[in-house]
């Protein structure tokens, strides 16, 4: 049994991040959760760049991606992650307010594992996050091989 995967949440809206984290906790997710406020910080962590925290070896990660973020958006983050041989195995789950079919199709084409639309309205939002929690629990998180 591998260690529980670390959830990376890339979400520029602090409110959304709070709501997501709270909902996931309520739905029984106890994994370590790292929150980055834009795509650049997220990539820096994954690719071990810059002064901030870096990804650790021997830890599995799961990436929750918002699409619309400043500087580098979610789509670009996914593109870069999917192009990297080592990182491409990280499950990516889109968690976004965008329900535009065109955007959705782009994400599926780039290889996202799942796509969750953040609904307006607390009840629906909570339900969706519950489903997200279940999904995270069910996904088998591969461990990234040591370099």
């Amino acid at each position: 049994m591998t260690k529980e995967p670390v959830i990376i949440l890339a979400e520029d809206d602090a409110g959304h991040a709070g709501l997501i984290i709270n909902s996931l906790k309520r739905s029984g997710i106890t994994n370590t959760l790292l929150h980055f406020e834009d795509g650049e910080d997220t990539l820096n962590f994954l690719f071990r760049r810059g002064d901030g925290p870096h990804r650790e070896d021997g830890v599995s990660y799961i990436l929750l991606l918002d699409i619309r973020m400043p500087v580098i958006d979610g789509i670009e983050v996914m593109r870069q992650v999917k192009q990297d041989e080592e990182l491409s195995e990280i499950p990516i789950i889109m968690v976004t307010t965008t329900e535009d079919p065109v955007e959705m199709a782009r994400c599926w084409n780039l290889g996202c594992h799942n796509y969750f639309v953040k609904p307006v309205g607390f009840e629906k939002f909570s339900q969706t996050m519950e489903q997200l929690g279940k999904y995270i629990n069910d996904v088998i998180i591969p461990e990234i091989a040591n370099q």
């Binding site: 809206d13 065109v102 607390f122």
Partner: protein
């Protein structure tokens, strides 16, 4: 001796004149004498029979023999008989004098002296022919002497003045034309002619027996054998018709030129063999050239704007002259005179003679600068508008999208606050808190907070619905449109199938007649008609059984569909508003977001179609949709 000498001298004389002389016996027709001239024509025929040797193909004495004319039955001579005859052997004409004389043996014999007049005869014949030509010419001809007195006139001349020869010949032209006309028109010209020059002029002439005629008059000097001017040969020809034709032609030419000026359109003829062209005046103005301009292919190219020269030369040589296509091109020129850049539209057709190679190209060139500028401006405007529209759609899309993110927070955190407050109040429930406070807290938690949460949540829902609507509308234009020929019978019956439940629930009936096809995006057209029929169902009159009718027709390349209902109808002042976003005719009664007809309008616009409504409140509505067909 003297007599013999005389005879020899006479014979010598007779042999040396170019006159035919012979003597023949009256009874035997034996030729007794021929002179040398006769011998050269007929040979030595002395002793032969005259009708056998002097004439051809005679079976006996000639039927035209003049013997009985020169001697009486009693043998008395009657004198000289003078006649002209064409000899049947030589074919030559002779002036003949016959007489009876006493021969040296005492008997009476026939003497014929004949002069060859063949040349004169030919001249006479020729003259006769000329006379004939002159007499029968429709031109009026006359000959006047130096004092303008008529010497001769042909039939046409006499007829025109309604005169007989004796009323004209010998009279002066003054008598015929009257003093004024003679002095002002005839005399000045005639005098010029008398000085030796050929005079030609045109003038109106009045005639006693006809309408005035416009005449072309020629005066030729009449020369005597000494080359001195003896008079005037007059030739007059009626050219009234030509004059009228000329005038009509001139008028139509001037009208054409005027029309060309107004239309700024010139025409040209391009001779393919010589590569030269000629053109109307208007084209001179369009090109800014004059009559000295070299009108060949290079001359044309020189007028064309440098950016278009190569294309146009290629077009002329390849498409027109090689492939024999019609010349039809808009191109830019530089007016040679003003240096201004102008747009022209050139049209031209090739003309073929009997060969398969074109002989010439005939066409028009029109200055279309104003139209072209408007077109360019319109295109620019259109582009700008499209760009602005795209931007606007993008703005709508992004804002409606981004506005949802805060909504998630507003709703989410209002609940979070509620939850936190409840937690707080659970703490306040403890015993150490007074009953009075508990009661107040209870009111706040159970009632007021719930109401506040409800308001927030309702507003969030409302706002969310609006944003969804905006997103939905803006999304219609964002997809790629895939236009194809659509079987509307199939599409409408599918749509009616999907709303079957609502139709039954409303107790309504849907009637569909044969519908023409149209060209459009399958999904969008489906949505368009779905929305219209849903609308019709929504606004049926509960007081009577609903009927919805689909019908269609084609009209000028469009398919026009009519969706007719017998519902509550639309008040006249609402007809425009129904297409506005979020507009609802009866907001309290109807579900939905008021987007249906807005989407319809958007789909119509994407297809460059049209929609209009005829409606009578209390009777029903007719929605007409016009879509391109093919």
């Amino acid at each position: 001796m003297i007599k013999e000498h005389m005879q020899n001298s006479l014979s010598e004389i007779l042999d040396n004149i170019e006159v035919l002389v012979y003597v023949a016996d009256f009874k035997t027709y034996e030729i007794l004498y021929v002179n040398k001239y006769a011998r050269t024509l007929f040979g030595d025929i002395r002793g032969k029979i005259c009708w056998q040797s002097l004439q051809a193909e005679q079976d006996g004495p000639c039927s035209f023999c003049t013997n009985d004319k020169i001697i009486t039955a009693e043998g008395r001579p009657t004198g000289v008989y003078h006649w002209e005859f064409q000899n049947t052997v030589t074919g030559r004409w002779f002036d003949i004098r016959d007489s009876a004389i006493a021969w040296h043996d005492g008997r009476m014999v026939r003497l014929e002296v004949a002069t060859d007049i063949t040349k004169r005869k030919a001249a006479e014949e020729e003259l006769h022919r000329y006379e004939h030509i002159v007499a029968n010419s429709t031109d009026m001809m006359a000959l006047l002497d130096k004092k303008f007195v008529y010497l001769a006139a042909n039939k046409a001349y006499l007829k025109a003045f309604d005169l007989t020869p004796d009323k004209l010949i010998g009279y002066s032209a003054v008598d015929v034309f009257g003093k004024v006309f003679f002095e002002t028109v005839i005399k000045p010209n005639a005098q010029r002619c008398l000085s030796g020059e050929h005079v030609n002029y045109q003038s109106w002439f009045e005639f006693p027996a006809s309408q005035p005629k416009y005449m072309d008059i020629n005066y030729y000097p009449y020369l005597g054998p000494d080359d001195m001017v003896k008079g005037i040969v007059v030739n007059g020809r009626d050219i009234s018709e030509r004059k009228q034709t000329d005038e009509r032609l001139k008028e139509s030419e001037s009208k054409l030129s005027e029309a060309q000026k107004i239309a700024q359109l010139g025409h040209y003829v391009f001779d393919i063999k010589t590569s030269m062209w000629r053109n109307s005046d208007e084209l001179d103005d369009i090109f800014g050239i004059d009559e000295n301009y070299k009108r060949d292919v290079n001359g044309w190219l020189h007028i064309i704007h440098p950016d278009y020269r190569e294309t146009m030369l290629n077009y002329l040589q390849e498409n027109v002259l090689t492939q024999h296509q019609k010349f039809d091109k808009e191109y830019k020129i530089i007016n040679c005179k003003s240096g201004q850049e102008r747009w022209v539209h050139g049209l031209g057709y090739l003309k073929f003679g009997n060969s398969s190679d074109p002989l010439e190209m005939v066409g028009t060139i029109q200055d279309i600068t104003e139209r072209k500028q408007q077109e360019i401006e319109r295109e620019l405007l259109h582009k700008e508008l499209k760009q602005k529209n795209r931007e606007l759609e993008q703005i709508v899309y992004i804002t409606s999208h981004d506005l949802r993110a805060p909504l998630v927070n507003i709703d989410g955190y209002s609940r979070e606050v509620g939850r936190l407050l409840k937690e707080l109040f659970t703490i306040l429930e403890r015993d150490e808190i007074s009953a009075e406070v508990k009661e107040k807290v209870d009111l706040i938690v159970k009632k007021n907070i719930a109401i506040a949460e409800n308001h927030i949540s309702t507003s969030v829902s409302k706002m969310n619905a609006l944003l969804s609507g905006l997103l939905q509308i803006s999304r219609i234009g964002r997809f790629e449109i895939n236009k194809e020929k659509l079987d509307m019978n199939e599409i409408i019956s599918d749509i009616v199938d999907t709303v079957k439940y609502q139709v039954e629930k409303a107790g309504a009936k849907v009637e569909i007649s044969e519908l023409p096809s149209c060209t459009g995006d399958n999904n969008l057209i489906n949505q368009l008609f779905s929305n219209i029929i849903e609308n019709a169902l929504k606004y049926l009159d509960p007081e009577r059984p609903g009927i919805i009718r689909f019908s269609g027709r084609t009209e000028n390349g469009s398919s026009v569909y009519c969706i007719e209902d017998n519902g509550i109808g639309i008040p006249p002042d609402h007809k425009e508003k129904i297409f506005e976003i979020f507009y609802q005719l009866k907001p309290k009664q109807s579900a939905g977001e008021g987007l249906g007809l807005t989407i319809v309008m958007k789909v119509i616009n994407i297809h460059h179609g049209k929609i209009w409504v005829e409606s009578e409140p209390g009777t029903g509505s007719k929605f007409y949709v016009s879509l391109p067909n093919g």
